[in-house]
């Protein structure tokens, strides 16, 4: 089949889909249409646009999934893109292994967050950035002072986010940013600090169960927090914010380690942790991960991130528990779990299409990527724009490197509203301002004006579609939205494109614009303005805010 006709065939005269739910992790074998393909791309990547959607439909589920999990080298590190007063880092060089000093962290933070945002936007068909964000929301650190430590932390998550959960948890436990954030750095035999031990249990691994008795949270007890804190004593961070040390690091100081025996509660089978010095934290993690509840806890969290917030008894039994078994059977390897979930009958239940309110970063990147907006490639402009996007996401209540607290963003855990917590009378206008800026006005950085040119999108659509306003709107809907739209809404959109005019007027005007013999700058502007109104409307409708 000619790939350009795939969408055409699929979009024709659909207005609603049957709601179906399959509560099984058995491999999906149903039809592979743009609906399923776009569901996968929206949930697992930041890269949806008309081209990637067509490719995914053409390539099929298995091939697309291979792309998502393909091996991939780490990106080049962030650079000093403009700051001329760093004695150790020239403009154009990376600062990640260079000592800092007074007034040097500011530009590095700017560089890091812009670099990071750009990675998300340009990730392509791959799962890595979605998983890096997942782990950032899971193993939270926030507002770490030294940008080099932020870099080490996020690189750890990026490098191991699709690897092994046990290895990842071990690495995070002695990561310098985490040691500083949850006071592991201060945790010593004379003054144990329980902060990390508590969150390791409550948020990072096993989760807090119901209160079963005094200080007993079913999965662990207050005494376990105390005992594990002692087992984790002795870790230090060297070189944070240092103007003498190029590469900050964590290390183990035996003099600060509690060498005594640590007795765990019956929740951990009264295990005793004996002194094993710098390897003791690994034993702590091995003991916690000895419990099946950990696998379920992590699988629930993955489920809420990729599928839906509501976990019924049926879903717990038919989806979460089998996934947890796969997780344990594969000794905490993440790929088998994610592959099973993302290829399952359940994941492709049409009931879930478009049921997660996009997070602010997704909202911004979706807008940039579906419109194939182009940002000048030079360092300063690229960094400046992505820094700008980072700040816009922050204002919409999602700051990368700055989740609100150690539990991560509220939308991923706070019942009953979950993803709806993104939306408020403050954040909704900011989301619309962003798309309005790009559609009707401009966003400026480094003296470059960025805006959406809708003609760039529409001109790439085959003319047998784009000349018919009904088909054109259908086509845009398949890329902009998760489900087909009712006729009445499509008519309303057409009314915005060609107010009060019959369909053929669009065919004539757009046809004249395409025809080299009849086109003109004035006509091009007129057609573009019509399309701007349409794009603006489509990006401020409720359908645009879900994925």
């Amino acid at each position: 089949m000619n790939r350009r006709s795939v969408l055409r065939k699929l979009v024709a005269s659909t207005s609603s889909i049957a709601v179906e739910t399959a509560n099984t992790i058995a491999p999906y074998s149903g039809p592979w249409t743009y609906l399923e393909a776009s569901h996968l791309l929206r949930r697992a990547t930041f890269a949806l646009n008309r081209d990637t959607l067509e490719d995914a439909v053409d390539n099929g589920l298995d091939f697309t999934l291979d792309l998502l999990f393909a091996d991939k080298p780490l990106p080049e590190p962030p650079i000093n893109y403009f700051f001329e007063e760093d004695p150790n880092v020239m403009v154009g060089e990376t600062w990640i292994t260079k000592r800092t000093g007074d007034g040097l962290n500011g530009y590095r933070h700017r560089s890091l967050r812009a670099w990071n945002f750009n990675l998300l936007r340009n990730e392509g068909i791959h799962l890595r950035e979605k998983m890096t964000l997942f782990w950032h929301n899971h193993f939270v650190t926030e507002s770490i002072n030294d940008p080099r430590l932020r870099y080490l932390y996020i690189t750890l998550l990026r490098n191991q986010g699709l690897g092994n959960f046990k290895t990842l948890t071990e690495a995070v436990t002695v990561d310098p940013a985490m040691l500083l954030y949850l006071n592991g750095h201060q945790n010593n035999k004379n003054a144990p600090n329980e902060n990390y031990a508590r969150e390791l249990l409550e948020l990072f691994t096993i989760g807090k169960g119901d209160l079963a008795g005094p200080g007993d949270y079913t999965n662990y007890t207050e005494d376990d927090v105390v005992a594990l804190a002692k087992a984790l004593t002795g870790w230090r961070v060297q070189g944070s914010n240092s103007d003498e040390i190029d590469e900050p690091f964590s290390y183990y100081d035996p003099n600060r380690h509690d060498t005594g025996e640590k007795l765990l509660s019956h929740r951990f089978d009264n295990v005793v942790i004996s002194n094993s010095e710098e390897n003791e934290y690994k034993e702590v993690i091995a003991i916690i991960l000895g419990k099946t509840e950990v696998a379920k806890y992590i699988c629930r969290k993955l489920y809420r991130y990729f599928v839906h917030h509501h976990i019924s008894e049926t879903i717990e039994q038919n989806i979460i528990e089998p996934l947890a078994t796969i997780f344990m059977d594969n000794e905490w390897e993440l790929k088998p779990v994610l592959q099973t979930l993302l290829t399952s009958e359940h994941f492709y239940s049409s009931e879930f299409f478009g049921t997660i309110i996009t997070n602010p970063i997704e909202h911004i990147i979706k807008t940039l990527n579906i419109t194939k907006i182009e940002i000048p490639q030079d360092d300063i402009t690229t960094y400046e724009f992505h820094n700008n996007f980072h700040i816009k996401a922050r204002n919409m209540q999602m700051e990368y490197f700055g989740p609100p607290n150690v539990a991560g963003w509220k939308v991923y855990y706070q019942a009953p509203a979950y993803y709806r917590n993104w939306i408020s009378a403050v954040t909704l206008p900011l989301r619309m301002d962003f798309t309005d800026d790009l559609n009707l006005r401009r966003i400026r950085a480094n003296e470059f004006d960025l805006s959406i040119d809708p003609l760039k999108i529409v001109d790439q659509i085959p003319t047998d579609i784009s000349l018919d306003p009904n088909l054109l709107i259908q086509d845009l809907i398949t890329v902009f939205y998760c489900q087909p739209m009712a006729q009445v809404q499509r008519d309303a959109l057409k009314e915005i494109l060609i107010p009060g005019l019959p369909d053929f007027e669009w065919t004539v005007e757009y046809g004249n614009y395409l025809d080299p013999n009849t086109t003109s700058e004035e006509l091009k502007m007129a057609v573009r303005n019509k399309l701007k109104n349409l794009f603006r409307a489509m990006m401020t409708l409720p359908e645009y805010f879900v994925c």
């Binding site: 201060q186 005094p214 299409f353 539990a407 939306i423």
Partner: protein, 520 residues
């Protein structure tokens, strides 16, 4: 799909919950609705101190200072620096503004507020405070949300309307407050700046399918329409309102101050929003709570200064505008911190802590006893709870919003202790401590097991007696009964408990007394 269905279907996330064995929807249409005084024009301000405020360095118990010093010598505020309130209480030196409010009979401190079986997780604990659930209950609605559900059972359908043109509740900030989560919808409209609002594009009403997808679209469409509808009244109120206090300028501006200033202006502009919620974060002071060379300074001092300075300016503004009698404010925090400091110039998650209530229509002064700080305390020991926070919520609902006591009980799902927090608005001086009408002694202490509680009552009383451990968990309930006037001896045994420290909490109808007891 009708809005009504939307409301009901959004319950899918939780099992339909029941009040007194009746479905909530049945209750709210029937008997409860008329119990409210819809003419009530009182306003409540809630300020969340996010992170868990260290009450022991905020309201310092002077009569316990020597022992307290031993447990937190690396962070305790020097006695000479404290702002003396009375013989036994000193405020943190950076709380000059609130000290002035106290002297002006506009501040009430309720000592040792917490809940049974204190949970030391931030997230679980703030959920408990927001939902007003017991420590072992999971409730998806907020206490203010349930109160507002009673008056506005169909919200957000057809809101705003002629009778209720204004937002029912507001959060000054970017997120709605879980306190205001009702059964179907959150009542709090979040705004940052009422002067910076513009209409959102709204392309009219569509019928969304009754599916998970349709429900999300309906929710978003509602949010768009409501944001637009409320924006007009907010802009009008903000333009009509004013701020008169010069104190907003003195000491510079802070975020909390700016937010309270916005609230004062909206109230001044005639907005009839019942509840305003805002927050100040950073109280999770595991490290660097104080500066190593000056314990009266550091993160905690800065936070308390911001709080105190902002509340004083706000109250002054209301006073200058003659609005004091409409507004009462209250602070809350998920927990207090431990008695012993840690090695990082900080404190770890603890139990009870004081709450502040401010306004002119309150019983100014200190309600409750100072916490008892023993010479030896366990590492994890927090301040024992005297008052359940639900008692403060309940008393405010009753006296400030004029809600029937029985209804308050159904909103809070529990018994609560009535506390005289709200009073007539004519108070001009700090109330003397009133005669509580009982005396009570506990012996022996330490004990090997048997405990005698001698109680002398001037009037019949109801008494609930419980034993708690140092984490705040209730170990046993001794008694929950009415007693007549006269002398009573209640005897009980602790011989089944391991040796250590416990708290015996005696809860009367309107007050509490907690004994720290050592089992040896």
């Amino acid at each position: 799909m009708k809005r009504r269905n939307f409301l009901q279907s959004s319950l899918f996330a939780s099992a339909p919950f029941m009040l007194n064995s009746l479905p909530v929807s049945a209750l709210k249409h029937k008997q409860l609705f008329n119990f409210f005084n819809l003419e009530n024009d009182k306003i409540l301000i809630l300020i969340e101190l996010s992170g868990g405020n260290d009450g022991l360095n905020t309201v310092v118990p002077l009569d316990q200072y020597a022992n307290l010093f031993n447990h937190r010598s690396n962070i305790i505020i020097p006695e000479s620096a404290l702002l003396t309130m009375n013989a036994t209480n000193g405020l943190h030196p950076s709380m000059v503004g609130m000290k002035r409010l106290y002297d002006d009979a506009r501040l009430s401190i309720i000592q040792n507020v917490g809940y049974e079986n204190q949970n030391r997780s931030h997230f679980r604990s703030i959920d408990i405070w927001n939902s007003a659930s017991a420590a072992d209950e999971y409730i998806n609605t907020g206490w203010m949300g349930r109160y507002l559900d009673q008056n506005h059972p169909t919200y957000p359908d057809n809101y705003p309307n002629e009778d209720f043109p204004d937002p029912i509740a507001m959060t000054i900030g970017s997120l709605t407050s879980d306190t205001c989560q009702g059964i179907g919808s959150n009542f709090s409209l979040a705004i940052q700046n009422p002067d910076n609002l513009s209409a959102l594009p709204d392309y009219g009403e569509f019928q969304y399918p009754d599916t998970l997808y349709g429900n999300e679209l309906e929710y978003l469409a509602n949010s768009i329409q409501q944001t637009n509808a409320y924006q007009e009244v907010l802009t009008a109120a903000s333009e009509a309102g004013t701020n008169l206090s010069p104190k907003y300028e003195i000491n510079g501006s802070t975020r909390l101050k700016e937010r309270l200033q916005v609230i004062a202006r909206l109230i001044s502009g005639g907005l009839r929003t019942k509840v305003y919620i805002t927050s100040i974060g950073g109280f999770d002071t595991h490290s660097g709570q104080v500066e190593s060379n000056n314990f009266a300074q550091g993160t905690h001092a800065e936070l308390l200064f911001e709080l105190s300075d902002a509340i004083e300016a706000f109250q002054d503004d209301l006073k200058l505008q003659g609005l004091e009698e409409k507004v009462v404010g209250m602070t809350f925090s998920e927990f207090g911190r431990r008695i012993k400091s840690n090695g990082s110039l900080g404190t770890d998650h603890g139990s009870a802590a004081p709450m502040f209530v401010f306004g002119s229509c309150i019983n100014a002064g200190v309600i409750g006893n100072n916490p008892t700080i023993a010479a030896e305390v366990a590492n994890q020991e927090g301040v024992a709870m005297d008052y359940d926070f639900k008692s403060i919520y309940g008393s405010i609902l009753m006296d400030w919003f004029e809600v029937e006591e029985s209804t308050v009980r159904s909103i809070l799902y529990s018994d609560f202790q009535y506390l005289p927090i709200i009073s007539s608005c004519q108070t001009t001086s700090v109330d003397p401590v009133e005669d509580l009408g009982y005396s009570i002694t506990l012996s022996p202490n330490p004990t090997h097991g048997p405990v005698n509680l001698d109680i002398e009552l001037d009037k019949p009383e109801w008494i609930k007696l419980g034993v708690f451990d140092t984490l705040g968990a209730q170990i046993k309930l001794i008694s929950n009964q009415s007693l007549g006037t006269g002398h009573h001896l209640i005897q009980f045994e602790l011989n089944d408990l391991s040796t250590g420290i416990y708290f015996v909490r005696c809860q009367f109808k309107n007050s509490s007394k907690t004994f720290r007891i050592v089992k040896s």
